[in-house]
Symmetry: C2
Subunit: 265 residues, 2 copies
């Protein structure tokens, strides 16, 4: 995000705040940030505070931070929205906060995980916009459109349902696929020589960090469980087709699954 | 394959044979083939016959074809190997056949699905090589190394086990994920606006053609069922962690899934 805000000229000066000084040194060396500071020192010097940390850490940090700000705008970029919005619902400065989720990311983390053209053409969700000041929302909208994102608006609870379907379940499926295959690898060393692009594609998300993802699953537990139950029941249909050698129904299932082409080019 | 064999100069002349004359016209127009013919006419004019059709069609075509050849080499490129090898085990010309599986493909089909650098750096499996003439194997080895593939040798039954783990299960998982999300889309139109790169990556294989994939699942039913059962049981572990709010074990599962990084860069 810092890299794209610099690159597009949206930000004149970026102050980095991080628990890990090595990340800050690296980010400064790479030019993604201009200065590194403690949070308390940074707050006074900035117009816009972007919270980009695991969602459990956001939940701890954000309510306290909201007490320390004046007229600055605060936004978060976390993958869950309901619990985060609830946590600041009573804050005196609630209207300076904008709850967002840019739907872009990779399985990597740290300053060296920077990706050229990051965020471009993807959707940024802004939640519960009526709870934020118009100028705060406008600033955040300008940020996202500057880095090439399209804007979508919804309430925090709807966001969490949608995110469970289009993002969180993909991670669960990919983690489980990785475990399935690693289980086999114990017996057979050669297996990964054969790994093709299809396998790499479905298992890519399994490289994602638990520090980021466990809190997401915790905060979106009910929705993720709903989708996971549906997913397991879909897999059971494939299992039953194979067991019963019902290849007509198997063909039908696959034809239905192919309909995803209508939606994802 | 035709495109890469032309591009690398491996083949001087390529004769296309296809059930669909439109595919042949398009392939000729694009320059992937020099001539289009009926199979009977093509056989007499070629040194190497490459069978690249769904595995159920291979099973029907191959035994009859093996009766019609002289000293030509026949190879197939199907995703299953055991049933195909069994089908020609008694052929008089068995030794002119080489059973192979280049571990590369996309979810697309037809002459316009051609991909630059296709096959490069991936593994080609050659099965039961001791059942083929040395000169036939050498020709096929030269073909695969010319298009940039690495060679791996194994028996047909082992191939099918490995393929179930590193390819077939990824397709089942992706089909099921597509169905899971499409099920939800019935209720909510907006959902796909949010689809991120992670979702696209896990669901890409769900665009794959049932004409190709149902026969693969049929021919590799037992192995696919084994892996699918394992996969469902891994998903149940995630479900149980969420239901019981056992986030320590969830972290452990994800840390174990992350070990896929050791294998796939």
């Amino acid at each position: 995000m810092a890299y794209r805000l610099k690159e597009t000229g949206f930000a004149k000066r970026i102050i980095g705040v991080d628990n890990d000084p090595q990340n800050l040194s690296k980010a400064k060396e790479l030019g993604w940030i201009d200065d590194a500071m403690l949070l308390e020192d940074a707050i006074a010097q900035t117009e816009l505070i972007i919270i980009a940390i695991p969602v459990d850490a956001t939940l701890k940090l954000l309510p306290a931070l909201m007490e320390k700000i004046g007229n600055q705008v605060v936004m978060d970029v976390g993958s869950t929205k309901k619990m985060i919005c609830d946590a600041v619902a009573k804050s005196a400065h609630r209207k300076r906060f904008v709850a967002t989720h840019p739907m872009w990311g990779t399985e990597k983390s740290g300053p060296e995980a920077v990706v050229k053209d990051a965020f471009k053409t993807r959707v940024a969700v802004i939640c519960d916009k009526e709870n934020s000041d118009a100028d705060a929302v406008a600033l955040v909208e300008r940020l996202y459109t500057t880095i090439g994102m399209r804007l979508v608006y919804m309430d925090a609870a709807s966001h969490d349902v949608h995110a469970a379907y289009v993002s969180h379940i993909s991670h669960v499926a990919s983690y489980a696929l990785s475990l399935t295959v690693l289980e086999k690898e114990k017996e057979e060393d050669a297996i990964f020589e054969l790994a093709s692009g299809g396998f790499e594609s479905t298992v890519r998300l399994a490289k994602s960090n638990p520090d980021m993802w466990v809190p997401i699953f915790m905060q979106n537990k009910d929705n993720v469980l709903d989708v996971l139950n549906e997913h397991i029941s879909q897999l059971r249909k494939f299992k039953s087709c194979l067991e019963k050698e019902n290849y007509e129904y198997l063909t039908e299932l696959i034809q239905n699954a192919n309909k995803i082409k209508r939606i994802l080019k």
